[in-house]
Amino acid sequence: MTGPVDFQLTDDQRALRAGTRELLAGRFDRDRLRASVDDPALDRALWRELGAAGFFALRLPEEAGGVGLGLPEAALVFEEAGRALLPGPLVACQVLAGVVDGVATGEKIVGLCDGAGEPWLWEHPAACDELIVADGGAQGRTGGAFRSAPDRVVCAPMASVDPLTPLARLTDLPRGEPLPLDVPRLRREAALLTAAQQLGSAARTVEMAVGHAREREQFGVPVGSFQAVKHLCAQMLVRAEIARSAVYAAAVTESVLDVTGAKLLADEAAVRNARDCLQVHGGMGFTWEADVHLHLKRAWLRAECWGVASEAEELLAAALVD
């Protein structure tokens, strides 16, 4: 299956997407995915390979050892990561690659905590060499950033609903060494890259549903020949493609409104597609062994990060009467 719309990627963009998909298929296949479910400790070797492949340095200038590409390319790469359910503080390491030494190459792993609203969550706390806190300010639109060593951060453990993403809850916002960061821009990029992962997940669950619907037989025919199943799948595709238009456009324009709308639509697409994918799978999708729940839980988690639906809708509404 190919999507109906290819959005006129350049040849280089296509190659980047294909290369990322190939890398992840080779280094993070289904066996590795399920192994991570059982033990979510991050694979440092894989992280370094991602670094070597330019996953984190993608947007750094070539003279700084980067690949010199932009947010649209990062979105394509993150879409692939979302498809593959690749775990780790990917967004943090992508947006902080030029800021914290060693992150661009994958040698160091850095966490990023959004201090805008409680609870303050920290993904993969055990894996991070440092934690950056993006401080709140009113509406989370301004404020500074601070770096801290993990052992200086006071937090309570939390049983994460997503088995691939361990979480801790900060009990206090550590304000260590200040960092000269454009925090609004950082939030915008984090939201867009999170939306790109949601898009990848939404597109992947369409494929999973369609694959199941073609193969699984009930009442003597593939379940995909029933209109009810067909229409669930069709609506899943529509959601994914609408989210795709929004995410790709926002990656190009980088405008706050576009990013906000893209996150809103991509969150909805990822969550609802995972649920519909579960419905198409029936009882088989309800098991721990099926991957459907991993997409749903990660989608729930991402939807809580870098801007939730209620904030997004209010922001977009306010812009209508500006």
């Binding site: 009930q218 025919v221 029933f226 009810a228 029936g282 009882g283 062994e289």
Partner: protein, 384 residues
């Protein structure tokens, strides 16, 4: 159109409340979710208490050892035990609500005498062997084979979504006894001892992370022909009696519980500030109307069953369609109330949210239920 209870029903309620108030404080602590033997013991002990107090098999006919209560009394029982926080039926579910009523309706005198009393006393636990991995919603496509060998059936195959398999004594098992017949016509109903050689139970982990269910593998398990209830190859009809019992009252306690959870959501939201979010607040208000109506529909369905002699009608599909959806909306609203707290897997509402995902799938997907409503109630032509 009558919502008032008779004096007899109000008496029944009052006596039940009194008894619950007396016995509940003395219950032992609940065992851990993973402690299967402990759970069996706990549930069986509760069933024994019900038995001793005269509440066991409330809705069963008297000649089956039950209390011959009216459906409305059964409704009151389910409502009051839920309100009082009494234990759930738990491990006794299949015995009391599926296997027992089936044996009562279709079994011989000997079979009734053998199996019914231990169910009522909590002495024997049953599990259900209907679903199969390859059959899914097409239950009648089951492939577990039973081949006659003199006085026994030799059974091989696999069952899935079996609750309490680890601790059950008996399994109500659907098997294919005539592979050549049309799929609904070649099925038989057997009572299989779970300790028979060839029975293997493997816990099945759900997406909620728990192992409430198991797979049961059957490798040439020998089941006496005398354990068959109903005629050979008539098991589908025998089973449908059971299933309609399930649909009739299975959700009474849950609807009461959902209304309680809804109140808790509202109070939590007011405490944590999210009550100021009008979208969430109004969503909770709408759910309140929804669950109130579902509760009324339950009452009417039960009262209708009373009129028709105890067999719930197709209205159960109407109820199940709306209730499954409303329950999922309830726990989505719970996640809104919790905000990022909904990422905490240890929160009870988060666990319930995960398990709510099965409601539009289990016991007939919503798609299947909609077919049933459209074809059997509305009379639309068969098709896909």
């Amino acid at each position: 159109m009558d919502l008032t209870y008779t004096e007899e029903e109000e008496d029944f309620r009052a006596r039940l409340r009194e008894w619950l108030a007396k016995v509940l404080p003395g219950l032992p602590p609940k065992p851990a979710a993973t402690d299967w033997p402990g759970r069996r013991a706990y549930d069986a002990a509760w069933q024994r208490m019900l038995y001793d107090a005269g509440y066991a098999g409330l809705h069963w006919p008297r000649d089956a050892g039950g209390q011959g209560a009216t459906p409305t009394q059964h409704l009151i029982f389910l409502e009051e035990t839920e309100r009082a926080g009494a234990p759930y039926v738990g491990a006794s579910f299949v015995g009391l609500l599926h296997a027992g009523p089936t044996i009562a309706a279709e079994g011989t005198a000997e079979q009734r005498a053998r199996w019914l009393p231990p169910i009522l006393r909590g002495d024997e636990i049953w599990c259900q062997g209907f679903s199969e991995p390859d059959a899914g919603s097409d239950l009648a496509a089951l492939r577990t084979r039973a081949v006659r060998d003199g006085d026994t059936y030799v059974v091989s195959g696999a069952k899935i979504w079996t609750s309490h398999a680890e601790v059950a004594d008996w399994c109500e098992l659907l098997v294919r006894t005539d592979p050549a017949a049309p799929k609904h016509r070649g099925i038989s109903w057997l009572a299989m001892p779970m300790d028979a050689p060839g029975v293997t139970v493997r816990p099945l982990r759900t997406l909620a992370g728990s192992t409430e269910f198991a797979e049961v593998f059957l490798d040439e398990v020998r089941v006496p022909v005398g354990n068959r209830v109903g005629a050979e190859n008539d098991g589908w009809r025998v089973t449908m009696v059971t299933l309609s019992f399930e649909r009739g009252t299975a959700f009474v306690g849950e609807v009461v519980a959902c209304r309680r959870v809804l109140g808790a959501l509202a109070r939590t939201a007011r405490a944590n500030g999210r009550w100021d979010d009008a979208v969430l607040r109004r969503r909770l208000g709408r759910l309140s109307a929804e669950f109130a109506a579902l509760w009324r529909l339950t009452q009417w369905n039960v009262s209708e069953a009373q009129g028709s002699g105890g067999v719930p009608g197709a209205g159960g599909s109407v109820f199940k369609l709306r209730y499954s959806h409303a329950r999922q909306e309830l726990y989505d609203a719970a996640a809104e109330v919790l905000g990022a707290g909904a990422l905490d897997a240890d929160h009870a509402w988060v666990a319930d949210r995960l398990s709510s995902l099965s409601y539009t799938i289990a016991a007939g997907t919503s798609q299947i239920q909609q077919n049933i409503v459209a074809e059997r109630i509305l009379g639309l032509p068969k098709g896909r």
